[in-house]
Amino acid sequence: AGPGAAAAAGPGPGPAGADTVSAPAQAGGSAVIDMENMDDTSGSSFEDMGEMHQRMKEEEEEEAEGEAGAGEEEDGEFLGMKGLRGQLGRQVADQMWQVGKRQASRAFSLYANIDILRPYFDVEPVQVRARLLESMIPVKMINFPQKIAGELYGPLMLVFTLVAILLHGMKTSDTIIREGTLMGTAIGTCFGYWLGVSSFMYFLAYLCNAQITMVQMLSLLGYGLFGHCITLFVTYNIHFHSLFYIFWLVVGGLSTLRMVAVLVSRTVGHTQRLILCGTLAALHMLFLLYLHFAYHKVVEGILDTLEGPNMPPFQRVARDIPVVSNAVLNTTAKAIALTL
């Protein structure tokens, strides 16, 4: 009577248990009640695997138990209804699946949620304009930690603007990139600089005990790109080396000074300040140099071809052709006048 009652009670809680565990998942889906989970052969492959696994384990244990003998009551009970163990196993597997699914969806909604970034984009146009202008003005007070706004809208827009300007420069200089695309190179360069150098500087700041967070570093470096945008916009359209060097020193230097001053105000110790600021200044200025020279060939003959006959000004000409020598004189004079 004992095993018989347990046998009757066994399959009872089994399907009912499986039903209550899986019912919340089913109720939201359709209005038709799915009878599949009521059977022993369930439709879910997860439970099928659990069932197969269970059956294999039971066969093994059956052979092992056969030697030990069926004298003990507990073993007798469990041996008597393999169904109970199968149901339990399936129930446990089902519950684990539910818990796993819930955890995965919670993790997904936590990390893929766009609202994480929302506070960094909470700016007004006036603030953005003010910060753009401030990024060119070096601060004087370096004994007191300067405030850095942890905002990502301005830097992101500046990076995209730099990409657009770079694309313009590459197109006007007929840069041909064999192993890639113009757009890919431009985006890769600008985003790589912004994210890569920010991470590197954040790592250095961590080593040098500077008080700065990653978002603040991203923001600082991003606003420093404003100087780059101005310089490249001007010098990609007006092709003079000397003009570029002036802009490089003045505009690049101002934005570098601003970033350096802010970092110095947040670092203690001379060696640390030197390391941090030297690295940042070097990377910032060198990036501007790189952008100008790698992606924009200053074609010196372009000015001549627009004006007069197609002749380089320093060519040696035969002395009997006055037209040619006049042309040479004119071209040379124009070239000298333009470079002055």
Binding site: V123, P125, Y153
Partner: protein, 217 residues
């Protein structure tokens, strides 16, 4: 279920009827009931929806039809046609023609996704695909500009043609930006419109620049 084990159905009573659960209110699309209509009806309905949206872009008025029934057919057609027309230009070797198609495609879709994310982060009330739909449809004036540029370049590649192309592309760029702004900026808080308009401006500027600097081989 031991109690149900001995239920038997006699042979001469037919079991028939409907097993339907009332769903409440019918959704306005009724997609599940359009399975039996002829294919021509389905295609014509979709084509008419796409055509209506094109008309909305041509005359940007504040209507919600573009936003309510979003679809991405129009943007796909426009993007592919623009990428095809921009292919094969300003390249020395023929293997530069390949990346150009992928470039344009990636720029348009990546740029549209970035603008959508930006407008959502700014507190916009528009959904992701609605914004993609609007930005994609507003590429249409630039498609027209590309066609005109191609025709003008057939005639010659001098200064006059450059001026004509500059004017046409500039006008279409302004039209695109205004059209998409008319749809998207309404869903933003009023003092942040400039922050949302700037990326759209940049996006259409890059596409216009690609069209303007296109020189056929």
């Amino acid at each position: 279920f031991p109690g149900l084990a001995d239920v038997s159905i006699s042979q001469d009573i037919p079991v028939e009827g409907e097993i339907t659960v009332p769903v409440g209110s019918h959704s306005p699309d009724e997609d599940y009931s359009t399975l039996d209509e002829p294919v021509k009806d389905t295609i014509m309905r979709d084509l008419k929806a796409v055509g209506k949206k094109f008309v909305h872009v041509m005359y940007p008025r504040k209507s919600s039809a573009l936003l309510r029934d979003w679809d991405l057919w129009g943007p796909l057609v426009l993007c592919v046609s623009l990428a095809l027309m921009l292919q094969g230009g300003s390249a020395d070797s023929k293997d530069d023609g390949g990346p150009q198609f992928a470039e344009v495609f990636v720029i348009i879709w990546f740029g549209a996704v970035v603008i959508t994310l930006n407008s959502k982060l700014m507190g916009g009330t528009i959904s992701f695909f609605q914004s993609l739909c609007v930005l994609g449809y507003c590429v249409m004036p630039l498609n027209v500009a590309m066609l005109v540029c191609r025709l003008v370049l057939l005639a010659g590649a001098g200064t006059i043609s450059f001026i004509i192309r500059l004017i046409v592309v500039g006008a279409m760029f302004a039209w695109s930006t205004l059209a998409s702004t008319a749809f998207l900026a309404d869903s933003q808080p009023p003092n942040r419109k400039a922050l949302v308009v700037y990326p759209i401006f940049l996006f259409y500027f890059v596409i216009s620049w690609m069209i303007l600097t296109f020189t056929p081989q």
